[in-house]
Amino acid sequence: MDRFGPLTPLIGVVALLLIWQLAYWVEVVDRVLLPSPGSMFVAVWHGMTGGQLLLDFFRTIERTSLSILYAGIIGIPLGIALGSSVPVYRSVEFVVDFFRSTPASAVFPLFLAISGPGDATKIQVATFGASLVILFNVAYGVMNARKTRLQAAQVMGASKLRVLTDVMLFESLPQTFVGLRNGVSLALIIVIVAEMFIGSVDGLGHNVLDNQMLFEMPRMYAAIFVAGALGYGFNLMFLLIERRYVHWSGR
C-alpha cells in the first residue's frame, strides 16, 4: 500500500463510496432509504451554502464548544486538586467512576425537569458528562507524574507548590488532552441527542430528526455526514493543539 504514499488514507474513503454507489445501483435497500452518495453531497452543498444545515451546524458547534469550555473550567482544576492528593482521590474515586459510567443521556430528563427544555439544559448535560471525563483523565495524569521528575524538582529546592506548577501540571498535560478529546466527543454526542428532544428548534440533531420525519433522505444523510465531519474536526483540532504545545508527548 506504500506506493500510494500520502494518498493511502483515501483508499478507504474511495472504497466506501464505491460500495455505497454499488449498493444504490443494485438496490440493496429501497432507493428512498439509501439515496446515492452523489445526492447526499448535493444536499450537503445546498445545505451548507446558506441553507438550514449551515445554521444548524453553527448552533451545534456553539453548544458543543460552550460545553467543552465549561467542562474544562470545571474538570481541569478539580482533576488537579484531586489528583495531587492520592488519599483525596481514592475517597471520591468511586463517585467519579460511577457517574463517569452513567450514560449522560439517562440524566437528561432530570436536567429537563430542573432547567426546562431550553438551550441551557443541553449545555448542562453535555458539560456534566464531559467534565467527569476530563476530571478523571487530569487526575490520573497528575497522579502518574513521573516520580523521578518530582524528586528532581524537590532536590533542586522546589517547594510543594512549585513542584505542582512546574512539574505535575506539565506531566499531566498529555493525559489532559486525552481527556479533552474524549470529552469533546462525548459532549458532541450529548448535544446531538439533546437537539432531538422536544422543544429543540435547531442544531444538527434537530436537522437529522426533522428530515427523517419529512422523509428527506439525502438531507438527513447530509446532516449525519456534517455531524461526523464536525466530530472528526473537533478531535483533529485538539490533536493539532496538543502536537504544537505538548511537543514532548510520547517522546
Binding site: R146, K147, T148, R149, Q151, A152, Q154, V155, M156, G157, A158, R162, D166, V167, F170, L173, V246, H247, W248, R251
Partner: protein, 272 residues
C-alpha cells in the same frame, strides 16, 4: 563488624576516612526500614570533605537508599545527618539520577533545564546566565543546549542532567548510578568528564555504582556495604594518583585494590 558508632569504620583495619580530613557529611544512628525489611539500623558514617567516595555493595543492600536518605528524598526512621554541622536545607547540594530521561524536564529546552535550580536561589537573572556560560566553558560542552532533552542522545542528556546539578556550584554532589543506562563508549567518556570535573572543583562526591571497576576508577575511597541491615564491610582508600586513564585499569595498584574490593564483596554476599 563492630556495632558501635564511628568505630565500625575502622573495624576492618582499612584506612579511616577521618584521617583523610575533616568530615563533611556526618551520619549518626541512621535507621530505615521498609515494612519488615530493615535496611539501616543505627548506621554511622563520616564522609570526608573534598573526596570522591564510591558506594558499592550487593543488590538491595541500600546503596541508593543511603544517598536518598542523605539527600532528603527519603525520611529516616531515626538518626541525624549533618553537613559540616549544617542541616540539609542549608546545604547547597546536587543530585544526579540514574534515569536522566525521567529526571530532565522534556517541556524545557536543555539550557532552561540547566538554569532551573537557580530559580530557587537568590541569584539575579544576569548572574544566572553567566553561571551557565561559565559552566559550559569549564566543561568544554559543545552540544546545542537550545535543543529539547528528547532531541539529544542518552549521554548528552545525562551531561545536561549533571550540568543542572552543578550550576548551583554545590558543596556536595550525589550521583546514583549515573552512567548505568549509557552504552560502554559513552560511559568511558563520561567517567573522564566526571573525573576532570572533580579534579577541577574538589566537590565532595558520593557516587553509587553497581560496577566495581567504575567505582574504584573514580574514587578516592570505596565504601563497601554489606546486606541487611547495611554495615560498612570495608572502607578502602584507593590512593592511585589522578588523572587516571584507560591505562590505569591494567596497572597492578588498580588491579590489587579492585581484587581486594571484590574479595570483600564476595564475603559479604556469602554471609548474607
Amino acid at each position: 563488624m563492630a556495632e558501635d558508632a564511628p568505630a565500625s569504620l575502622h573495624a576492618t583495619g582499612a584506612s579511616s576516612p577521618a584521617a583523610a580530613g575533616e568530615p563533611h557529611i556526618t551520619i549518626r544512628g541512621l535507621s530505615k526500614a521498609f515494612g519488615e525489611a530493615v535496611i539501616y539500623d543505627g548506621f554511622d558514617l563520616d564522609i570526608p570533605r573534598g573526596r570522591f567516595v564510591s558506594v558499592f555493595g550487593p543488590n538491595g543492600c541500600g546503596k541508593s537508599t543511603l544517598i536518598n536518605l542523605v539527600a532528603g528524598l527519603l525520611e529516616p526512621d531515626a538518626g541525624t545527618i549533618r553537613f559540616g554541622g549544617k542541616r540539609l536545607r542549608d546545604t547547597n547540594f546536587g543530585y544526579v539520577f540514574q534515569n536522566y530521561r525521567e529526571a530532565l524536564f522534556p517541556w524545557m529546552r536543555s539550557i532552561d533545564n540547566i538554569r532551573y535550580p537557580l530559580k530557587f536561589r537568590n541569584i539575579p537573572r544576569a548572574e544566572r546566565d553567566t553561571r551557565v556560560e561559565r559552566l559550559v566553558d569549564r566543561l568544554g560542552v559543545t552540544l546545542d543546549l537550545a535543543k529539547y532533552p528528547y532531541q539529544l542522545s542518552g549521554g548528552q542528556q545525562q551531561l545536561v542532567s549533571i550540568m543542572r546539578s552543578l550550576v548551583i556550584e554545590p558543596e556536595v554532589l550525589f550521583l546514583d548510578e549515573p552512567f548505568s543506562a549509557l552504552d560502554y563508549e559513552m560511559t568511558l567518556f563520561m567517567r573522564d568528564q566526571l573525573q576532570a570535573l572533580f579534579m577541577d572543583t574538589r566537590t565532595t562526591m558520593v557516587f553509587v555504582s553497581h560496577d566495581l571497576e567504575e567505582a574504584v576508577y573514580l574514587a578516592d575511597d570505596v565504601m563497601l556495604l554489606s546486606r541487611g541491615p547495611a554495615e560498612i564491610a570495608d572502607y578502602v582508600t584507593v590512593g592511585i594518583p589522578r588523572p587516571r586513564t584507560a591505562a590505569t585499569i591494567s596497572e597492578s595498584a588498580f588491579v590489587r585494590v579492585k581484587a581486594h574490593c571484590l574479595d570483600v564483596f564476595q564475603k559479604t554476599v556469602r554471609e548474607a
